[in-house]
Amino acid sequence: MTKVENGIPQGSSISLILASFYSAGLLDLFEKNPNSHIQDLLLPDDPTTTILFMYIDDGKLTVSSKSLETNVKILSLVYCRVNQWLQKAGLTLDKDKQELMHYIQGCLDGSPAICLLEEDGSISTISISSTVQWLGVYFDRKLLFNKHVTKIASRAEATIANISILANTTQGLSHYYL
C-alpha cells in the first residue's frame, strides 16, 4: 500500500468520468476523420474504416478487408497514430498487453503477425493467440466463447468450494453468516 498525496482513490466513480474526458480527443480523431491515417495509401482488398473502441484504459482497433495482410498493415499504421496521440497526452501503451486476433472461419496457421513501432523506436511483434482477453471476456476466432465459459465455470466452482469449506457445520462459520 502506498501513501497517496493527491488525486482520487482507486475505484472512485469519478475516475471513469475523468478518464472519458481525457481520452475523448483520441476518439474524436477517429470519428471525425477515420481514414486520415491511411488516406494517402492505395490499399487493395477493399478495407473498411478502422474503428477504435475505448473503455477507460483498454482499447481495441478493428478493421476488415479481403486480406489479413492488409488488415495487419492498416492496424500497424493506426497503432502508430494512437501511440503518437497518447504520447502527446503524456501516456504510453503497455507493451505487455497487446494482443492480435483474426476473426476468420478457417485455420489460423500461417496468419500474419503484426509488427508495431513503439515510441522508443523499437519494433515489437505480436503473434496470433488462440484467444484474446478484452474487458474480462475471452474471444476466440470463431466467437464460440468456449474458453470463456470454461474459465468462468472453473472460477464459479472454486468459489462454491470455498463457500462449502466455510459452511462446515461443526468447525466452519455459522449458516447465519453465509
Binding site: V4, I56, L61, K88, G90, L100, Y103
Partner: protein, 51 residues
C-alpha cells in the same frame, strides 16, 4: 476481421499525476485542453487513500 487490443499503461497512476499535469501542460494545451483546472489544490490529508 482483425482486431488489435491494447492497454494504456498506468492510466490511473495518480501518484505520479504531475507527469500528466505539469510536464505536459503545454502539450495538452496544444491539443485543445484548457489549462483552467491544471493547478488544482493538492489534498494533504488523504493518507488513507490507497491503490
Amino acid at each position: 476481421m482483425s482486431a488489435l487490443t491494447f492497454d494504456i499503461k498506468g492510466y490511473f497512476d495518480f501518484i505520479k499525476h504531475d507527469r500528466l499535469l505539469v510536464r505536459n501542460a503545454k502539450t495538452l494545451n496544444s491539443t485543445g485542453i484548457s489549462e483552467v483546472d491544471i493547478n488544482l489544490p493538492i489534498r494533504k490529508e488523504s493518507s488513507n487513500m490507497c491503490r
